[in-house]
Point group: C2
Chain length 247, copies 2
């Protein structure tokens, strides 16, 4: 991939990206389900009790590279992007986090070592390390360890999952990943409001903006997707798109 490439510049995130509000109840339910499927009911409940909820809006910086990593986040709703530190643009996308995902500093109590930025509005569970340590609650530490291990495995799988796919399949996979996080089922199909630009998608998928465009256009022309606007996609038939992308 990018066989002959030398990346040129781009910078993320460049602006606040308001995404349409979503039915709160549905998402709460969805978030809870994901949370519990990721870490089990009891653990989820434990985190609920110990953490502090925080709402965020698209574009908000949730953690900065140099900030002391004195907390651990669990995404409840929305999408959070993780970006590598980069003195010079473009910043590399490390990954996206959805509800149930754990965001932990690379060096606990020292530094996050990456930037976390909200891509949509959403909600976060903040677990302050200091507080938790002071409590001396071993249970919680074990629960966090559990969550971290799960996240490690999930992250690896997500990243490696793209590795062998041709770009078309990567893009489809990405769309479904986004859909799981912030998609909605309507009578038109799966509606996904992409919370980022084409070039950020390209970086995440290890390809170029133009390629993303071409593929999306191709799909649009064949009715596999509908583009209300460049950022508002509708997938009338997920199975058909998947079949086509992996053909």
């Amino acid at each position: 991939m990018l066989g002959q490439a030398t990346r040129t510049s781009a910078s993320f995130p460049r602006q606040v990206l308001p995404t349409g509000m979503e039915p709160a109840e549905a998402l709460r339910g969805k978030a809870r389900r994901r949370l519990e499927s990721h870490m089990g009911k009891e653990t989820a409940a434990l985190f609920d009790r110990c953490g502090r909820e925080r709402d965020f809006v698209g574009g908000e910086a949730l953690a900065r590279c140099e900030d002391p990593g004195d907390a651990v986040y669990i995404v409840l709703e929305g999408v959070v992007g993780l970006y590598a530190e980069a003195p010079s643009e473009p910043r590399d996308v490390l990954g996206y986090c959805y509800s149930g995902d754990l965001i932990a500093p690379a060096r606990l109590g020292v530094a996050w070592s990456f930037d976390a930025t909200a891509l949509t509005s959403g909600r976060l569970l903040v677990l302050s390390l200091q507080e938790l340590r002071d409590r001396g609650d071993g249970t919680l530490a074990w629960a966090l360890l559990e969550a971290a291990c799960a996240e490690l495995s999930r992250r690896t799988a997500r990243l490696r999952g793209y590795w062998f796919l041709p770009v078309k399949a990567r893009l489809a996979t990405f769309l479904f990943e986004m859909d799981e996080g912030i998609g909605q089922r309507t009578d038109r199909g799966l509606e996904v409001d992409l919370p980022m630009f084409r070039d950020e998608i390209a970086i995440y998928l290890g390809t170029r903006t133009e390629t993303i465009c071409r593929i999306l256009t191709g799909w649009k022309d064949r009715g596999l997707i509908v583009m209300d606007s460049p950022r508002k996609l509708v997938i009338p038939d997920g199975a058909r798109l998947r079949a086509e992308a992996f053909a």
Copy 2:
């Protein structure tokens, strides 16, 4: 990458891969340095106290997908490969672990959810979860959480690090990664005994065996590397190789 690819079969690891023994002291020092640089002196010492050392030989299965993940490993010496479960070959390489790296089950106490196989002989620190839990030692749980967070970040960086590189650069990066783990400085340069076959490297790097061969041959012809045997490489001048690969 692999734009037109449909992966064909290969199976790892296929045999015990004895790698030459190495000067124990040098490695002990190296392992300790890596360990401490990854997690700090005190934490490393804590783990040392709580864990049980275990030697392994190349080819040994250290964890199986379905096994209950009732321990956490810290690699002291050698290289451990992590492989995705795959009912049908080929198995995907999730990553390689070197001294200082943490290997933790995806679901603590439930299942590893991946296979860990020793690629070389080496040594492992085994931290039994049951024992640790029984101790009720919060400190240790925090230390493990710390290690897990660090591993998460390291793993992500390692995987994403390859993302944008053309295959040549990936292969060079891989060689240096291996060198860091098991390489030796001699008067001939950096000596690296690859503990896996060409096709496993190809899978790890998201390319094909033939491509790996062509690149290595190219480098050999230009004196950038010496191949004592297909698996025994010498890099006379690391800087030169790096420059060439990233040119």
